[in-house]
């Protein structure tokens, strides 16, 4: 026989006959001894002298790696990179990491087991095992037990192998020729597969592009669009008053701020300006005044602002005796809450700016009504 045969198959009628033949076939030392049976046979692994599968060790290593990866990643996220207190727990709470560590361990382990078995150990994908094209294959899938002596090198003696199997009690012997091309993965196959995936992506992408272009109202996935959330300027059914954003509870004071003037103007009369009367504060007050107040109240506070004439409004003349007698608190109240046609400036000016404006208005009032003594104060 030729040296290019793949293997010699010996067909046996019973599993016991097969088991009895295995030691004889192995003793002949002609090639690798392999068995093909319709179902697993107890003890055949040991009889064939099969090496213990390395899969268990691979799964163990990858499982531990999964656990370590999950722990490390969660620890890095939660305790190092972006520590946030959640549910009152410390950022490095290992208890919270355990479920994900468990999941990732299982993920790594099962992927290793499944893909490692199929791709690494069974060398899939391949196209047709040579034994599948043998005559014996119909028997192997039914009621025949086949022992194969497979060629290990060029000098394989198929005649001797056939003789050994016959002597071991095979009822039939078949010599399988070597397949004309490799049944295993080829670069050609890989290229075609990748090309196919590329074409599929291209077709799907273009289809989607034109589908959404021509039929814009077709919403294949509305989940993002219709999610329950608050939209700006839209009513929300979540709260009773229909507003999405709720006002803070009355009397709420933001952290680091003072209680603001929320009562009546008379009640605010007792508030004291907390800012020192320094040049810096006058500069802050001047800037805020020119930005926010000047358009109506005028550069010197006489109610002749740059927009007053255009709109026909009558803003208060801050130089009038009435306002010169105002305590600081009442001016502050007017800035925070607005008065008559004047809008509230609580949103525009910070607390410091408001009180600085009060200082500045006081300075304007004193400058317009200066007395002789004021001249004695020499500015450096």
């Amino acid at each position: 026989m030729s040296e290019t045969s793949y293997s010699v198959l010996g067909v046996f009628a019973t599993p016991d006959a097969l088991m009895a033949a295995i030691p004889k076939a192995r003793a002949a030392k002609l090639g690798t001894v392999e068995a093909y049976t319709p179902y697993p046979i107890h003890g055949i692994d040991d009889a064939l002298g099969l090496r213990r599968s390395p899969l268990g060790g691979m799964v163990l290593v990858m499982g531990i790696l999964g656990a370590v990866t999950a722990f490390g990643f969660q620890y890095w996220i939660s305790a190092i990179d972006y520590p946030i207190i959640t549910g009152g727990k410390p950022p490095d709470s290992w208890e919270a990491f355990i479920p994900i560590m468990f999941e990732v361990t299982v993920l790594f382990a099962t992927f290793t087991a499944g893909l490692g078995m199929l791709l690494l150990l069974n060398k899939l994908p391949f196209f047709g095992h040579p034994v599948l094209s043998s005559k014996a294959i119909t028997g192997i899938t039914r009621d025949r037990y086949v022992l194969a002596i497979e060629a290990e090198h060029q000098g394989f003696d198929s005649a001797a192998a056939a003789k050994t199997l016959k002597e071991a009690g095979a009822i039939d012997v078949e010599v399988l020729p070597a397949p004309d091309r490799s049944p295993f993965l080829t670069s050609d196959f890989i290229l075609r597969t990748l090309g196919g995936i590329f074409v599929a992506c291209l077709v799907a992408g273009l289809t989607m592009f034109f589908a959404t272009k021509w039929f814009p109202l077709l919403r294949p996935m509305a989940n993002m669009q219709d999610q329950p959330r608050l939209n700006a300027q839209k009513p929300s059914a979540f709260f009773k008053d229909g507003h999405g954003m709720q006002r803070p509870v009355a009397g709420t004071v933001a952290r680091g701020h003072l209680p603001t003037a929320t009562g009546t103007q008379e009640a605010a009369a007792t508030l004291v300006n907390p800012l020192p009367r320094t040049k810096e504060m006058f500069a802050v007050g001047r800037k805020a005044y020119l930005n926010r107040c000047e358009v109506c109240h005028g550069v010197v506070g006489n109610g002749q602002g740059s927009l007053t004439a255009a709109y026909g409004a009558k803003p208060a003349n801050l130089q009038a005796q009435q306002f010169r007698d105002y305590p600081d608190g009442k001016i502050y109240w007017a800035i925070v809450n607005g008065k008559n046609a004047m809008p509230a400036h609580a949103a525009d000016l910070t607390e410091t700016q408001r009180w600085a404006v009060v200082h500045y208005v006081r300075a304007l009032q004193r400058a317009q009504n200066a007395k002789d003594e004021d001249l004695k104060v020499v500015a450096p």
């Binding site: 107890h42 003890g43 268990g56 163990l60 009152g88 727990k89 208890e95 919270a96 355990i98 479920p99």
Partner: protein, 382 residues
């Protein structure tokens, strides 16, 4: 004197010595400590017996064949339930001492008032008696029937047992939950955890498996289980392996939910066990009950290696004792204590259990010779 008789004398001597220590505990070390130890050993004997009976019932439930040749071992171990009954009846005297729900102060406790009827001494005792009755029923049907089959060789027993097994599973769940909630969780009646019964079940099944594995190896050494091979041992080892994971899964699930919710009346349970000296006990429990046996049994060969299996089985029994100790003793507000009272209780009950099991092992056949599936079980291969 034969070595057999020698061992017997030794065990009786140890029991007597232990009994002296037990009496000494009652007289000198305080009633609370005495009863805490007594309840601990009642729970241990009971869970060991019930876990073994569960193995027997499981075989009938799923019509397992591999375990038929070794079924007589858990059947004999299950008779420990009969030993647990007198121990449990004596333990009823511990109720007014240890269990806050059955004490007169409970009437002033705003939470316990609502549970007063359930936790009261009469109903507590009645529930325990019902549990005992149900155990005796299970023993009579599953173990008694199997023993009778040795002489009658009547396959009708297999059909009867297969029909009874599903019902027994419901009974088993009820009994182990009642015992767990009453005798262990009842020590802290304000605390509750739905999964607690399952946690105790995991420990009970593991202790039954470990005792079964040890007894199988013991009988194998005496050449009394002819035909039982590594394949049978492998299955026992695989069960042990799997249920160490189950135990830790349940234990951690309970811990994590209580830890996350952080409700004062729930989290106090772990607060006590993770503070001070109990912290070391908790960590060693996780190590001895899960990590060590898990890695000891993780490879295929280790599950059928008699030497390895024996060591892990001893470890699991020890870990189960530690587990129950860890459940019961912190609840009493005690610091971890292990001194002559605990030692004499251990001596008394362990030698008592060994005497009982030795007696059971010497009676009758070592395999269920009347079971028609015995041959199939002996031919079992992985």
């Amino acid at each position: 004197m034969s070595p057999n008789k020698h061992t017997s004398t030794l065990l009786w001597g140890a029991t007597a010595l232990g009994a002296l220590g037990v009496l000494g505990t009652y007289v000198t070390a305080g009633h609370e400590r005495f009863w805490a130890n007594w309840v601990l050993w009642f729970v241990l004997i009971f869970t060991l017996g019930l876990g073994s009976l569960f193995i027997v019932a499981l075989e009938h439930l799923v019509s397992a064949r591999w375990s038929v040749p070794i079924r007589r071992i858990p059947e004999r171990l299950a008779t420990l339930l009969l030993l647990a009954i007198p121990v449990g009846l004596i333990a009823l005297f511990a109720i007014p001492v240890l269990y806050p729900g059955a004490r007169p102060e409970a009437a002033q406790h705003p939470i316990l008032v609502g549970k007063a009827f359930w936790l009261s001494l009469p109903f507590f005792s009645v529930r325990t008696l019902i549990a005992f009755g149900l155990c005796v029923l299970g023993l009579a049907v599953l173990v008694g029937g199997s023993l009778k089959q040795d002489t009658t060789k009547d396959p009708a027993f297999n059909f009867r047992a297969r029909k009874f097994a599903p019902a027994f599973m419901a009974i088993f769940a009820l009994v182990i939950t009642m015992i767990a909630f009453d005798w262990i969780s009842g020590l802290t009646p304000e605390w509750y955890s739905d999964i607690f019964g399952v946690y105790v079940f995991a420990g009970a099944f593991l202790s039954g498996l470990a005792a079964t594995a040890l007894s199988v190896l013991y009988l194998q050494d005496q050449d009394r289980l002819e035909g039982v091979r590594g394949d049978h041992l492998y299955n026992l080892g695989a069960f042990l392996f799997a249920f160490t994971v189950f135990w830790s899964y349940i234990g951690f699930a309970q811990y994590m939910l209580l830890w996350y919710a952080n409700l004062p009346d729930e989290v106090i349970y772990y607060k006590v066990r993770l503070a001070g000296a109990w912290r070391a006990v908790t960590i060693s429990l996780a190590f001895l009950h899960f990590i060590l046996p898990f890695f000891a049994l993780v490879t295929r060969d280790s599950k059928k290696d008699p030497k390895r299996l024996r060591r892990v089985a001893y470890l699991m029994l020890g870990a189960h004792v530690l587990d129950m100790y860890w459940l019961i003793f912190p609840a009493l507000g005690a610091k971890p204590c292990f001194s002559w009272p605990e030692l004499s209780f251990a001596l008394f009950f362990i030698s008592g259990i060994l005497l009982w099991v030795r007696g059971a092992m010497q009676k009758g056949e070592d395999m269920p010779v009347g079971d028609p599936f015995l041959r199939e079980g002996l031919e079992f291969r992985l």
